[in-house]
Symmetry: C2
Subunit: 461 residues, 2 copies
């Protein structure tokens, strides 16, 4: 087990400032040194739990003075090794900075500390007639969601964190506290620093407050599930729905293997065929129109077994089932770990990409449910492997590499929403080229010259 | 008149490369050295008209080697002094790079060279059922619109350039050609370089290709005009419409002074009251719903004189009139110049901000029509002044400074869509603080260490 390697002065000063909110206990370090990725645990030397921006500033200044890596940490639900302490250092667990700073219902904005989770925010919003739509499945923290440019099931209608962050307060590597914007709906004032930090994976600064956009709760909501004779029919339906500009709120693809897992885990009783899960938001008459169009299109592609749910309880049950696919799938192979892919392609290439990938999975003999936010062209293959079997790991990585190459050849991206982290640094170069990644490296060096902010993530320097 | 100051070797090599597309003629330099802003003309030493990326790369490398400032130039419609050659140098007129590289109707994207104007792009799209919505009024170039993060009348529904650029190809100061993205609808792959260049005003690189999002032409479109008893009623209507989430496509405020100008210039025959101009996009029944809601809300606020136009010709006439406000207003005071303000505030403060500003205009005795993209909280005061009278200029600048301070106190921005340029550098610091502007300076220095890319814009180094 790694020994904590921090300078004694550094440790002493943090202990003085934070008391019990600073710890080098092995159990805390272990908890913060592993994640859902396939990487071996790499422990930080200590963990700190700040309560306010002033503490974060002081911690950052200390890390800078003592050259100690600093890893911002939220709900710990990232999938690509973002929070692993690859160079040791201090993990900054921001989950105790969980205050809602302000809600402005008239302007449809909320300002929160980074440790507020999306579910906690929506609970606070319950009586305002507004909601925060971005939903990556896990009850992630808003700070973490900013940092990975998260999206999820209803990005097709409401956008990702890119579109839904209005302003950030960020502690820079030099201890400066920076505001990236104001609360106006748009601005042309200088470089778009908000978007620079959204998706920076904690490598450029620590987000200590985020102002996000809220959206009016729809007047009516209906969910629907339908089954297709084959995968192509399901995907082609989605392509046509998107091209017609139907403003669907959610549109999720679930393949037969994932349906099987859902039926076992959530007792959903669905036929083991490719499915689409839809959600529609709008006025009564708007919904009717959307639903009529979607029914027409999907039925043209042979959809059947329509199940409609307009009651909140039924809908919750349905989307809980969808969100449980990850855990449900793990039951298909008890004891297995997952390697989850995350490509996103232009919608016109989605059917080809899914089909070729399924051929590949068969060829490589993978147990791998496929689900996807197909309205965005984004889908996930959850490869279930024996985490102790390097042959299996390598095979899964090969399937992933082939999938990324396929997506890139279709002008897509290696990651629609999970981020680069440790795992996809080579793919990032394949995707954008050395020159683009060099621009990122230059930006990083200019804002974090000592490389203390989550070092080793996104790219090597 | 300034003499061209370029090194002879530099001039010789550019002449060799570009032939007649490189010029030091005084008339061309004059044409590129003035704009719609209040600043005195400042001429570049020469103008170049590249035709392809390879030429831009070579020009950038030459500018870098000879330390010659480089000013990217599009349609020349910017308002804040963006294209003035404050340090001399070479103006890079990109309007001859006007090719449409590709349109992908299925994925609703178009890739264009920077000199394609928005009207030219929409002309090419005519038979695809798609359109490019961002509309700043002027027939600006797509490259320029990227660089100022332009928006305009229908940003309230379709977003600004921030939301509508998918990928950029950029020539960096070191001559590297960088791609910022792929064609997928979303991506979490590394820093958001696309959003870094959108709004960078040519200070970080030269955009040589842009891939933008297209939108399906609405099934039905209706425009409407109505008059209000007072300004407050007009603005409060908009606030309520936005808060209810009505998906209006356009929502423009026009004050009585601007109406007077329009009536004179465009023979619109409107009553000299505050007006709102609306446009609705949607399905037949969707439109009905939107219109019913908007009518109900506006009538609650005393709106009258509704004029509806669903024929394309009538709508074109209406929006042409709206777009002509700027030139129409100049007729209110023949020989006058304009100083146009551009604040944007959270919607809940819009009525206060407009009202207090109108009080100020009266107090300062300004002839100043007010128009605005009020659905976004953005409005413009066009102060008509004698450009040779420094007292008038100073008074207008004082009104602008007071307006910006008012907007900032309301958590708004000094510029909703025109950008910082030369004019608003002090306001940018007021808005975001020195620490934030320092981050921008660091980014600039890291990507353009010799400061050749449109130097002196956004901030001083």
């Amino acid at each position: 087990m790694q020994q904590s390697q921090l300078p004694a002065d550094f440790t002493a000063r943090l202990g003085e400032m934070l008391g019990e909110r600073f710890s080098t206990s092995i159990s805390l370090r272990k908890h913060h040194g592993r994640d859902e990725s396939i990487f071996a645990p790499t422990l930080p030397d200590a963990v700190a739990f700040p309560h306010e921006t002033a503490e974060v500033v002081e911690i950052v200044q200390l890390c800078s003075a003592f050259n100690v890596p600093l890893i911002p940490y939220g709900a710990g639900s990232s999938l690509e090794g973002h929070t692993l302490a690859v160079n040791g250092g201090l993990t900054l667990n921001l989950m105790q900075m969980d205050g809602v700073v302000g809600i402005n219902a008239e302007d449809q904005t909320a300002s929160v500390q980074p440790g507020v989770t999306r579910e906690a925010l929506n609970a606070v919003l319950r009586d305002t007639g507004l909601f925060f739509p971005v939903d990556p499945g896990a009850d992630a923290s808003i700070g973490g969601m900013c940092s990975t440019r998260a999206s999820g099931t209803n990005a097709v209608r409401y956008g990702t964190m890119r579109e839904n962050v209005v302003n950030l307060k960020v502690v820079m590597a030099n201890g400066d506290v920076v505001h990236t914007g104001r609360r106006a709906r748009k601005s042309a004032a200088g470089y778009d620093l908000t978007r620079l930090f959204v998706g920076a994976e904690g490598t450029l600064g620590v987000i200590v407050e985020a102002t996000v956009r809220l959206h009016p709760l729809p007047e009516s909501t209906t969910a629907a599930v339908c089954a297709f004779p084959d995968i192509n029919a399901a995907v082609q339906s989605v392509v046509q729905i998107i091209q017609l500009g139907v403003p669907i709120a959610r549109c999720e693809f679930i393949d037969p293997v994932a349906i099987q897992a859902l039926n076992l885990y959530s007792k959903t009783g669905l036929s083991e065929q490719p499915h689409l899960f839809f959600e529609f938001h709008g006025s009564e008459s708007g919904l009717k129109e959307q639903i009529a169009l979607v029914q027409e299109i999907t039925q043209d592609f042979g959809a059947a077994h329509f199940v409609w749910s307009s009651s909140p309880e039924e809908r919750s049950r349905l989307w809980a089932a969808r969100h449980n696919v990850y855990f449900a799938a793990l039951q298909l192979r008890p004891g297995a770990r997952s390697i989850v892919t995350d490509v996103c392609v232009p919608i016109s290439r989605l059917a080809d990409c899914v089909n070729e990938t399924l051929d590949d999975l068969r060829q490589f003999g993978m147990v791998a449910p496929v689900v996807g936010h197909v309205g965005d062209g984004n889908f996930h293959v959850q490869m279930l492997i024996d985490g102790d079997d390097t042959t299996e790991i390598h095979r899964a990585e090969e399937v992933n590499a082939r999938l990324v190459a396929r997506a890139l050849a279709m002008d897509g991206t290696c990651t629609g929403e999970h981020g680069i982290g440790l795992h996809k640094q080579g793919f990032l170069i394949d995707e954008l080229g050395e020159a683009s990644v060099n621009v990122m490296r230059q930006l990083k060096k200019s804002l974090d010259p000592r490389n203390i902010m989550n070092p080793g993530k996104i790219f090597s320097l």
